[in-house]
């Protein structure tokens, strides 16, 4: 598609967070590497998992200035000055439920650091608050759409508004809900000037973004398994950088001197992460097809991805709707030494009797089995007492009413005196439960755009 006679220089996109709660010292080495490359570069942070946005919205209810990534300043403080000086642009969904608030916080941070005020763009349009949008959601979800308990409804925006903001000169682009790969596709569209229907190239950049969006999950994080998958330097994992070429193909690498590894196996695990049909990975920007994708080690900690194809983007956008639905409670107590497992199992029986009729209760025997099993306990029933000597009983429930959920925590606590011998270490938790519904709405019902701060 490019009419240029010389190929556009590589675009380097680094990712310094894979979720809200990731290491806040990640960005430094990524920015060092981006600056050392000397070419066009973008730093991204992906901090907005599905649930994170709903929690941010709840935070904003109690504090109108909150609702963006709580660690925003911690993430940016070590690198903001160098990014502005070196021309590394920053793109992130750390705006969460309050992108404008995040932008103001960044401007204040720049002032604190004594650096010039950056040009900050705020992407809007993901929050579906307008009456006609709510009507569409009601139609799509039906009776289960309960507006009285609604926390938030947000569409997954694509890369267009991000690209537009960068073309307009934004140095920092703050978004709320966008599809995670769009954080990379936006800069690629702005840099390479691809046509909006250049599906193959957009799909390739999408998969580059997909490999970046979980941070170290492509550089050895979430991968290590001693004796099988040994990863050096887990305490200092390097966060990933994609070197994207004019065709959208990329090389995944990481900053020199950091821990972790990038090899064909780390890239294969991440390319399939949260992908369902590999011939149709749906995003707002494109339908990516990785059935014929190839990965190749082209140097130390350098893996090239190729063979990705694209098809026209979907006519609809995905929407997540969160509402408050009842209460969740859990509690734990531990047993150790002789017959510990038998005592933990007896404690579970006591709770089953005491809480009969109070709703579903899951039972886990941590140290015996606690994760693979189903909530109904079919798996646990098949596990005989193996005589484990260090077992932590965990029970959990959901209830429409707070009082019903609290019954579980009270009964669990009462096991201190009324339960089997030697129980210790009681912990309980109670929280309001968020439930999610997803639906699709027509693309033209969502109006995404951006404005520059001031």
């Amino acid at each position: 598609m490019s009419k240029m006679t010389t190929p556009a220089p590589l675009l380097r996109v680094g990712c310094a967070a894979g979720f809200s709660g990731d290491r806040v010292d990640a960005a430094g080495p990524v920015v060092d590497a981006l600056l050392a490359s000397g070419g066009p570069a973008v730093l991204t942070f992906e901090t907005l998992a599905e649930r994170t946005l709903a929690l941010a919205q709840l935070a904003r209810r109690t504090d109108p200035d909150a609702g963006y990534e709580p660690l925003l300043a911690d993430l940016l403080r070590p690198v903001l000055a160098r990014c502005l000086e070196g021309g590394v642009r920053i793109v992130s969904n750390f705006g969460a439920a309050n992108p404008a608030g995040a932008a103001r916080r960044i401007r204040a941070l720049a002032a604190e650091l004594g650096v010039r005020t950056p040009r900050i763009a705020v992407v809007h349009g993901d929050a579906l608050d307008r009456p006609e949008q709510r009507a569409l959601l009601r139609a799509a979800i039906g009776a289960a759409f309960d507006e009285t308990r609604l926390v938030c409804a947000n569409a997954y925006l694509g890369a267009e508004a991000i690209a537009d903001a960068l073309r307009a000169g934004a140095e920092i682009v703050v978004t709320g809900r966008v599809s995670d790969p769009s954080l990379t596709v936006g800069p690629a569209l702005a840099h390479f000037g691809w046509a909006p229907d250049d599906w193959d190239r957009i799909a390739r950049a999408t998969m580059a973004g997909h490999l970046l969006e979980c941070g170290t999950q492509v550089t050895g994080g979430y991968y290590a398994d001693p004796g099988y998958k040994d990863v050096p330097g887990m305490a200092t994992l390097g966060f990933p950088i994609a070197e994207i070429d004019a065709n959208g193909d990329c090389v995944i690498t990481k900053p020199a001197g950091t821990g972790g590894l990038v090899d064909e196996h780390t890239v294969k695990e991440q390319i399939l992460y949260e992908v369902h049909d590999p011939s149709a990975y749906l995003t707002p920007d494109v339908v990516a097809d990785i059935v014929d994708a190839r990965v190749a080690q082209v140097g130390p900690d350098r893996v090239r991805l190729s063979g990705v194809r694209g098809h026209a983007r979907p006519a609809t956008l995905k929407v997540n709707v969160f509402s408050e639905q009842g209460w969740f409670a859990e509690g734990e107590i531990s047993y150790a030494g002789a017959r510990a497992e038998a005592r933990a199992r007896l404690a579970a029986e006591v709770l089953r009797t005491r809480l009969a009729g109070n709703g579903p209760m899951r039972v886990d025997l941590i140290g015996v089995t606690s994760l693979f099993g189903d909530d109904a306990g079919r798996w646990l029933e098949t596990v005989p007492d193996g005589g484990a000597r260090d077992v932590r009983l965990r029970v959990s429930t959901v209830h429409a009413e707070r009082a019903g959920a609290e019954r579980l925590t009270r009964e669990l606590t009462a096991l201190y005196c009324c339960g089997p011998a030697g129980g210790g270490g009681v912990r309980t938790g109670l929280r309001q439960r968020l439930s999610t519904q997803s639906c699709l709405i027509p693309r033209d019902a969502v109006r995404a755009g951006f404005e520059m701060l001031d």
């Binding site: 049909d277 011939s279 798996w379 439930s435």
Partner: protein
């Protein structure tokens, strides 16, 4: 087993000796990748790690559908298991409401490896006293 020439050296091993994987989730649906450690294991994965075998391994979670997608260039397959997460991240009572650990349940699946390929097995093996 038919009488193959490597029959005497066949080994039944957990899937994690020949493949690795990772779990992702969306809603009440889990996807689990299975990636061959060595290209020579690929035909064996296709033959033995079937939709039916995976559905059996997850029977207690009552999958309503198990679909296997093949990516031959990557020597990888992607399983999509519907309705196995007790409602998913916001609804499940499990500590691991995402089902992040489930790749390791799949990787426990027993597979038969012909003798000629035993040298490519990953890891020390759980029954190996030297391991």
């Amino acid at each position: 087993m038919p009488h193959g020439r490597h029959r005497a050296h066949d080994q039944v091993v957990p899937l994690h000796r020949i493949a690795h994987g990772r779990t992702g989730d969306k809603g009440n649906r889990s996807n689990i990748s299975v990636i061959a450690w060595h290209p020579d294991f690929w035909p064996l994965l296709v033959e033995q790690v079937t939709e039916a075998a995976v559905a059996r391994q997850f029977a207690h979670r009552r999958p309503t559908r198990v679909v296997r997608h093949l990516l031959p260039n990557l020597h990888a397959m992607n399983f999509v298991l519907d309705d196995v997460l007790d409602g998913g991240v916001n609804d499940a009572l499990n500590l691991d409401s995402h089902g992040k650990s489930l790749s390791f349940l799949l990787l426990d699946l027993p597979v038969r490896v012909p003798g000629a390929l035993v040298r490519h097995l990953a890891g020390p093996g759980e029954d190996d006293p030297e391991g």
